[in-house]
């Protein structure tokens, strides 16, 4: 089985004396989704632009499937779909025109083009707009077409820079579904995002960057447990179907095993700080159910990544 890869070797980018990316060494290989996290200005877009030869490296190399993007862009990007910094399509063209252009540039067989274009446009729910001029589209509609353009040639590698920018909540969840479905097709997805719940839901691994420096690259679980698990706490948000009184919280819930603290967020939700293993978490969930407080939701993961993120980023300021 073939295995797609992207690799940064001592990759650096300076603007004048300002270092936007310094000495990035990162190799991602195989079919997986890697979330690329970091605060504004951390260097995420810079990294993705270096991987698509939109900007030149000051030092080092960006390799895709072992091929240098700068030296042999055409070959390196042959099986890469990318979406970086919300590009614009000529306003007088329709999505069908723009996607046909991409299809022809990428040499998709003529017989497949029409069907494939209609498929990807349906995937981003823009069928009705296929033959309307892009100039009149809203930001989110354009972003949907950009996503479909990245998916069009069924590339093995997807480089996505905040793909859900500008999308409505349904659009964001559709993007998550699209990315999830791609994971089953032997794809490598490298995706920057500020949506930690998105990343923790769909990504297998995360890379974190700040001030142009890579802080960590590891499996999502490892990152979370390494930087907030041991000694630290996980935050669990609990949703309830009815109001809960303070006594129940302070007496029953706070004394459950592993619970560090519990506080009421709103009328029908609780935030529990918890420390323990996954098995302890399972126990906590069943204990909460047994309390018959009207438990309807139990969300540990996203906040755990958020905690990690905040810890990591704070540490380098």
């Amino acid at each position: 089985m073939s295995s797609p890869s992207i690799e940064a070797v001592n990759l650096s980018k300076r603007y004048g004396s300002f270092s936007a990316l310094s000495n990035l060494n990162l190799k991602i290989e195989g079919s997986k989704c890697v979330g690329f996290l970091g605060p504004n200005g951390a260097g995420k877009t810079t990294t993705l632009k270096l991987f698509t030869d939109m900007i030149r490296a000051s030092e080092g190399k960006a390799l895709i499937n072992g091929i240098s993007v700068h030296e042999n862009k055409k070959k390196a990007l042959a099986s890469v779909g990318s979406l970086i910094e919300s590009p614009e399509i000529y306003p007088s063209l329709t999505p069908r025109d723009a996607l046909s252009m991409v299809a022809e540039i990428r040499g998709m067989p003529r017989s497949d083009r029409k069907k494939k274009i209609e498929e990807v446009v349906a995937e981003v729910k823009m069928e009705e707009w296929l033959d309307k001029k892009v100039g009149k589209f809203s930001k989110g509609m354009k972003q949907r077409i950009n996503i479909s353009a990245a998916l069009l040639s069924e590339p093995e590698i997807l480089l996505l820079d905040e793909p859900s920018t500008g999308l409505d909540p349904r659009g964001m969840s559709e993007v998550r579904e699209i990315v999830k479905s791609l994971k089953h097709k032997n794809r490598l997805i490298f995706m920057s995002s500020h949506l930690l719940n998105e990343v923790s839901e769909i990504c297998d691994e995360v890379a974190m960057i700040d001030h142009g420096k890579l802080l960590v690259y590891d499996k999502l679980n490892n990152v979370v447990s390494r930087f907030s698990g041991d000694g630290g706490e996980i935050i669990i948000d609990v949703g309830l179907s009815r109001d809960i009184d303070d006594q129940t919280i302070s007496r029953s819930i706070s004394s459950l095993s592993g619970v560090v603290s519990a506080e009421k967020l709103e009328m029908k939700s609780l935030r529990i700080k918890f420390s323990g293993t996954l098995e302890n978490q399972e126990k906590l969930l069943s204990d909460l159910v047994a309390l018959k407080i009207g438990l309807v939701s139990f969300h540990p993961s996203s906040s755990a990544l958020e905690d990690t993120y905040l810890n990591m980023i704070k540490a380098t300021l």
Partner: protein
């Protein structure tokens, strides 16, 4: 982390079209954009207005007020207007060809695809040339139509030469405007500067250099374009030394010869094409 102890098979890359084919795709969609965005039709209308003015002048004052033979007729019509038509094409199709891709972020849509940057540049250039040639052909057809109406169907061979030189000038102008637009990141700025250069600046420098400094302005593209009109003049004008000025000084009036003119236009095209490609190749999509 991922234990890739097993050597992975090389990834099978899809078969991409040749760069030539990709240039063709770029040209096709750029032309589609010209037609859809009405840019082409606006320029066509401007050129039709110029044609109508000439047609009306000749019809109203009578052809004999302007020319007594076919060659003189084409000299009056073609010689006086074609450089403007070419320059307008250069401004419309070349003025923001590259800068617009940055300002409007349309370049970002293409540049992440597996094609050489030079293919984008060349494809767009060929589209601009094609669109300009269509307009030039229509403009020529109207001039020729009038010429045939007044002086019969035998076209002077010099007009054929002038046509060829006009196309050469068009190629040089588009080479230049594309190069120039690759220096800017703002559409309107690059259009404005190109327009000022071709409509005023070059002619002004030419006048200053040739009349005041008495140097042949061989380094100016508009001087080279002089062959388009010169070839329609019989006999072909040559550089003259004339007596004039208050103290009876001699001064020279320069006329570009055909080989010189061709060399200037070809030189401009080659240099600006190479520079434009280099600039675009190195330009950053920041």
């Amino acid at each position: 982390m991922s234990s890739s102890s097993l050597k992975a098979d090389p990834v099978v890359l899809p078969n991409l079209p040749s760069s030539i084919a990709q240039i063709g795709v770029m040209t096709k969609y750029e032309l589609l954009n010209y037609f859809r965005s009405r840019r082409f039709f606006i320029l066509l209308i401007i050129d039709l207005i110029i044609s109508s003015i000439f047609t009306a002048l000749v019809a109203y004052y009578g052809v004999s007020s302007f020319a007594t033979a076919a060659l003189g007729f084409y000299s009056f019509w073609w010689g006086n207007s074609i450089t403007l038509v070419v320059i307008l094409s250069g401004i419309f199709f070349g003025g923001d060809a590259i800068s617009g891709e940055f300002q409007n972020k349309t370049g970002y849509f293409l540049v992440g695809n597996p094609l050489r940057r030079s293919s984008i540049y060349v494809g767009k250039w060929i589209a601009a040339l094609t669109a300009s040639l269509i307009i030039l052909a229509i403009y020529a057809a109207i001039a020729i139509g009038n010429g045939i109406y007044y002086f019969g169907a035998n076209l002077p061979y010099q007009f054929g030469e002038s046509l060829i030189f006009s196309v050469l000038y068009l190629i040089a102008v588009l080479g230049f405007t594309f190069f120039f637009s690759s220096l800017f990141k703002s559409s309107s700025m690059s259009i404005l500067v190109t327009a000022i250069l071709f409509l005023f600046a070059f002619s002004l420098i030419q006048v200053i250099v040739s009349t005041l400094a008495q140097v042949e302005p061989w380094f100016i593209i508009t001087y080279g374009s002089g062959i388009i009109g010169n070839v329609l003049t019989d006999p072909y004008p040559t550089t003259q030394t004339v007596r004039g000025g208050f103290r009876g000084d001699t001064s020279r009036v320069f006329a570009v010869s055909i080989p010189e003119g061709i060399a200037i236009l070809v030189g401009y095209f080659v240099v600006t094409a190479v520079l434009g490609l280099l600039f675009f190749e190195r330009k950053e999509f920041t």
